[in-house]
């Protein structure tokens, strides 16, 4: 019974982790950029949801499209005006650029919101689902379902719409896509913006579950990293698999080694995977 509860904990947590990581994976897979801003964008989305709920009474789950859209615009601007200038530059250049941008965004949020922790308390609370002695918090369940739904939508968009196919084409072969008439720079901007959208949406979900402050952005980023490497880049199912795997690793790690080593387990697995299969479980070869 204990193990089963831990299993459920892990899966629910994993869903949240997938949600955090999907935007990050998209940007990394298609643009080959490690977007250090990702954690801060999640926090920004979370703050937007918090203020929308406390000042205007809009439910965070309903606020997802709005938060997503605002971050979409922000992301589009960032990519089109700034990051597009260094596309094709070595890894270090783009990494350092997003690092610098992240410092700016983080500082702005600190000044605007202070470091106090905020959390949305839903009124009325969503409560628990009880299956025998197993307990499933409903807010986490909804968050996980919504997260999977968002990932699924993204997957569908990438496969079915024209702009989605263009994104996949750019990812597979940039030059060939350009030859086919795809406006590569614009696609870059759209992809980054989509990653930002997903970050904003994730933020709305996180605000219900975690206490939020600009100080939590690095924690989210760290998880996104691990999920992407575990699941593999350029693959939406990979993100889900990676997320759930990480959730399970941490939960069972707590059971076997105690909570203080649960994060270490994740890192050790990450390192092992990097050694033998850097593209992750479901990743496609080609991007380094």
């Amino acid at each position: 019974m204990l193990s089963l509860q831990i299993l459920i904990n892990g899966i629910l947590l994993g869903g949240l982790y997938s949600c955090i990581a999907v935007g990050f994976s998209l940007v990394w897979g298609v643009l080959n950029i490690i977007n250090i801003l990702h954690g801060s964008m999640i926090v920004l989305g979370a703050y937007a949801a918090f203020f929308a709920y406390s000042q205007l009474g809009i439910h965070p789950f309903a606020f997802i499209p709005i938060a997503g859209l605002s971050l979409f615009i922000l992301g589009y601007g960032l990519q089109a005006k700034i990051i597009n200038r260094v596309m094709g530059a070595p890894v270090l250049i783009t990494l350092t650029l997003t690092f610098g941008l992240n410092l700016i965004l983080d500082n702005m949020m600190m000044v605007a919101f202070k470091a106090d922790y905020r959390k949305i308390i839903l009124d009325p609370p969503l409560g628990l689902l009880e299956l025998g002695s197993l307990l499933i918090p409903i807010d986490r369940l909804y968050a996980m379902v919504l997260a999977l739904g968002l990932v699924g939508c993204l997957y569908a968009i990438l496969r079915a719409t024209q702009i989605g196919r263009a994104i996949v084409a750019v990812r597979m072969d940039r030059d060939a896509a350009a030859l086919m008439g795809v406006k590569v720079k614009q696609i870059y901007a759209v992809t980054f913006a989509t990653g930002a959208f997903m970050a904003g949406a994730a933020g709305c979900l996180m605000s219900v579950i975690f206490p939020i402050s600009p100080l939590t952005s690095n924690a989210f980023l760290g998880k996104a990293f691990v999920v992407c490497v575990l699941g593999g880049l350029g693959s939406m199912p990979g993100v889900i698999l990676g997320g759930i795997l990480l959730g399970l690793l941490e939960s069972f790690g707590t059971l076997w080694l105690g909570p203080d080593f649960s994060t270490t387990i994740a890192f050790v697995v990450l390192l092992t995977l990097l050694m033998f299969r850097p593209t992750g479980l479901l990743g496609k070869r080609g991007f380094e």
Binding site: V91, T96, N107, L271, M275, E288
Partner: protein, 348 residues
């Protein structure tokens, strides 16, 4: 490109002046400036070390924090057991180098982003391990060293010279590397690793050597640091900024050059000190802005960029802009500016 030790006597004179300035600095500076100087030397050592693997070989390593923290803890623990400080520092450097060889085995076959992440994660894993070994390292409660028995000023000078030695060793190693076959091989690897293999360079061995070199002085610097401040805890020993700052400094000064990291360290810390003093609340934002500007406008670093050509390029843009304004057509000042700049460029 690396003008320092060419045969021109002017450069040697400048180099000697530099050295004298560094050596005599402690006697003209008060303790606070001495502390800034020591920090600058420490970061120079870190940047020079990163330059081996990141600048010469082109591998974006984020392992600097791991080496630094490990060196700090080894140095601290040895000193607490009674080993005199300088010996502890050397041993720390040695141990960290061995560690680098082992880790290099594991991660050096990765490339690009994967290598970057792996090297970053090493630091995290080390931190968690050290956090858990509470009886040896103090865990989350930190490691405290017994207070130094020296007088105030002597202590400041002692640590200044210690860091100067570490940084000096790193610099000398850079110079030697630059002129050696190893350095040449690393530059080949940076440009095109497959081609380097084909012309007969043993890339594995060279990369491992670069990675080792990038760890030794960092480990020593970490050990000196813990003696200097008397306290270290896992969060601060392995902080990610310890990996990031040397990278930014080296990029600023020019990766793959000899003095680039030193210039970059100096300039960056000067900027940081000025910004921190004057913009308390937003200093990290301003630092971020500086990093962004650096990447956008000076991506190859100061020593690698022909600065006048950058200025000329921007002046050219302004010239075109002003050409479009009718009333400035007769008197296009910017055309003049561009002409002047071009003259300066072609003269030197």
């Amino acid at each position: 490109m690396n003008a320092l030790f060419c045969s021109k006597p002017a450069h040697i004179v400048v180099a000697v002046l530099f050295l004298l300035a560094f050596l005599f600095f402690p006697w003209v500076a008060n303790n606070y400036l001495l502390r800034i100087g020591t920090t600058m030397l420490m970061y120079s050592a870190l940047a020079l070390s990163w330059n081996f693997i990141g600048g010469f070989a082109g591998y974006p390593s984020f392992a600097t924090a791991a080496f630094f923290g490990l060196g700090a803890y080894v140095g601290g623990i040895l000193q607490n057991k009674g080993i005199p400080a300088p010996l502890a520092w050397l041993l720390a450097g040695l141990l960290v180098t061995i560690f680098a060889v082992v880790i290099g085995r594991i991660i050096l076959h990765l490339k690009g982003h994967y290598f970057a992440i792996a090297s970053l994660v090493i630091g995290d894993v080390l931190r968690e391990i050290i956090n858990g070994m509470t009886s040896l390292t103090g865990g989350g409660m930190g490691l405290n060293l017994a207070a130094q028995k020296m007088g105030v000023t002597e202590q400041a000078q002692f640590f200044y010279f210690s860091m100067l030695t570490v940084a000096g060793l790193a610099l000398v190693t850079t110079v030697l590397l630059d002129r050696s076959r190893l350095g040449f091989g690393l530059r080949c690897i940076e440009q095109n690793e497959d081609a380097a293999v084909r012309i007969g360079i043993n890339t594995d061995r060279f990369k491992t050597a670069a990675f080792m070199l990038s760890s030794t002085f960092v480990g020593m610097a970490g050990a000196v640091y813990v003696s200097w401040t008397g306290y270290i805890d896992p969060g601060e020993a392995f902080e990610v900024l310890i990996s990031v700052k040397p990278i930014v400094m080296t990029l600023l000064g020019g990766a793959g050059t000899i003095l680039g990291p030193v210039y970059g360290a100096f300039l960056f810390l000067l900027l940081e000190e000025t910004v921190w003093r004057n913009f308390l609340n937003i200093h990290s934002g301003i630092l971020g802005l500086l990093v962004v500007l650096l990447i956008l406008f000076l991506p190859r670093g100061i020593l690698n960029t022909n600065l006048w050509s950058v200025v000329e390029a921007h002046a050219r843009v302004l010239r075109t802009y002003f050409r479009l304004l009718p009333r400035f057509q007769g008197i296009n000042l910017w055309a003049w500016v561009v002409r002047i700049i071009r003259n300066i460029r072609h003269q030197s």
